[in-house]
Symmetry: C2
Subunit: 315 residues, 2 copies
């Protein structure tokens, strides 16, 4: 391991944003961000700006996922560079505003770190979402958070994939971090879920402060679940869903799914089994918002990521 | 008890409806009714018509609770007798259609028995909702269902109240029965919840068939939870919710709530306790759809109802 100890100096992390309400009916982040806008002491740390921000206020107002389209999928070059028009989708216009405040995406001027707070109806616990398997800083942060929360579980979902492009709201920042906590119904605040999300943010900000203060973080490894494939519901000729998540799979996010295990059931009593050729780890199982995205669950595989030794170049 | 055995002959129950989709995002009823419209054998019983019916198809199509207003609150004389106009609320027009098919409400022509299938995000289990404490037939049916499901719990909620008027969709029928199964997020189908709802309908229809066949049901008693009062969330001066369901109350539907027990929490860490003067039994705790109805939970008290001996007048 000694050969991994090559020093890796990174710029300090001075500008941090915490997004809530990217989906207006995922209320933990909405309520925490609203609260922090009024009472920010809890998220302030010396030597850095931490800015809470409500990303989709119109969707929050209506307590709906979005107004015209999913804000969390439109931060691509095409949408961010579109000419503004009268009939522009609300979320595309909003994405451009967010990009101008916290980006521009991919530029030196972009915020250093953006957390985006989400809830899921799936039994995913407090999940950290990673976009780039080479992002040493974020992997080190996740390693720190996982240790701080231990023995409680804190899964990491890696959404890096050759074909699946997310273009998330948080991707405007240099280090994008999704925080996905469930299970919680849309439009509901559960105390336990809110508390879980709040702890994750606390430890994440503590990490950034330690980093900025010059603490060195030696090389580390974390186990992550890498997205392999999205699986749709079975459908009839009319395209309607004809089978639902089997009770054996319900709430079993991150657990082994083996070939032959039941995955779906039909209303006339048939079970449909998983026909893959190897064990996978499903997540986003039975997420309400993904029925319209043709996604019953997401297949992941376990991968170990390592991060280099890091320390701040200035402190 | 012998004095209670006075014979109570009731007309047979020939026309039964099963409503789903009164709230378009409560999917167990939506999916069961859609399935039974294609494959009805499971709900058919000799000597009676059992008609599955999707009550709010536009809300189902959009997977939303309602289009213009809550369909489950507009079956009052005022709305049912309104002149049809261009700008009439969709659900009011739909209520009139439903009333003309299954009613008219309060008339001899009305359907004998209407089940309306609902889901809740609250941890209410499979709950039967009773509208009238003098409805011997329905109390006898609930007694039968509770026994059939035993040892599983099957709570009964009595919504008879001097001030709270529901004007439910099912109230078009002579015997209105609400079936409220949870916890299930809006927009999600859970196998366990669907199965629970399906069992309740099976036993209910079995009871009706036995009744029609001439089986005598001796006097019986059931324990019910009678609605006492709806409790709103604490709110700030702007009317926004300022405290949420405390984790001690979350998922504790039907359990004792005693004076001094924590009920709400604020984001700055304070607990708000229950200040009533006697033990109550909360239900609809943290129901997503009731945030907009200013209802954090419903206080109930335990009451024992008795039903007379019943038998069918014709069989």
């Amino acid at each position: 391991m000694a050969s991994c100890h090559a020093d890796h100096e990174l710029a300090p992390v001075r500008r941090v944003a915490i997004f809530g309400g990217t989906h207006g009916n995922e209320l933990s982040g909405v309520m925490l961000v609203k609260y922090w806008l009024e009472n920010g002491a809890e998220i302030q740390r010396a030597g850095m700006e931490v800015r809470p921000f409500l990303t989709n206020p119109r969707a929050v107002q209506k307590c709906t996922r979005y107004i015209d389209c999913d804000l969390n999928r439109v931060f691509d070059t095409e949408n961010l560079s579109k000419q503004v028009t009268e009939d522009m989708l609300y979320e595309v216009r909003r994405a451009q505003e967010i990009n101008s405040i916290f980006g521009p995406k991919g530029s030196d001027d972009a915020y250093d770190l953006i957390f985006d707070l989400h809830n899921t109806t799936s039994n995913m616990g407090g999940t950290l979402i990673l976009e780039d398997s080479n992002d040493d800083f974020t992997i080190q942060m996740f390693h720190y958070i996982k240790l701080a929360l231990s023995p409680a579980s804190c899964p990491v979902l890696l959404i890096e994939h050759p074909n699946l492009k997310y273009a998330t709201t948080r991707s405007v920042g240099k280090h994008p971090v999704g925080i996905e906590v469930g299970p919680q119904p849309q439009g509901v605040i559960r105390a336990d879920i809110l508390d879980n999300m709040r702890r994750i943010i606390k430890h994440a900000l503590d990490f950034v402060q330690l980093f900025n203060w010059g603490k060195e973080f030696p090389p580390c490894s974390i186990e992550v679940h890498k997205i392999v494939e999205k699986i749709d519901y079975p459908r009839n000729e009319a395209g309607e869903i004809s089978a639902f998540i089997h009770h054996h799979l319900q709430d079993q996010d991150w657990q082994e799914l083996r070939p032959g295990d039941p995955v779906f059931f039909t209303l006339d009593g048939k079970a449909i089994v998983y026909e893959g050729d190897c064990t996978v780890y499903p997540t986003f199982v039975n997420e309400a918002a993904y029925y319209e995205k043709n996604q019953a669950f997401t297949k992941t595989m376990k991968v170990t990521l390592t991060a280099k030794h890091i320390r701040s170049s200035v402190h």
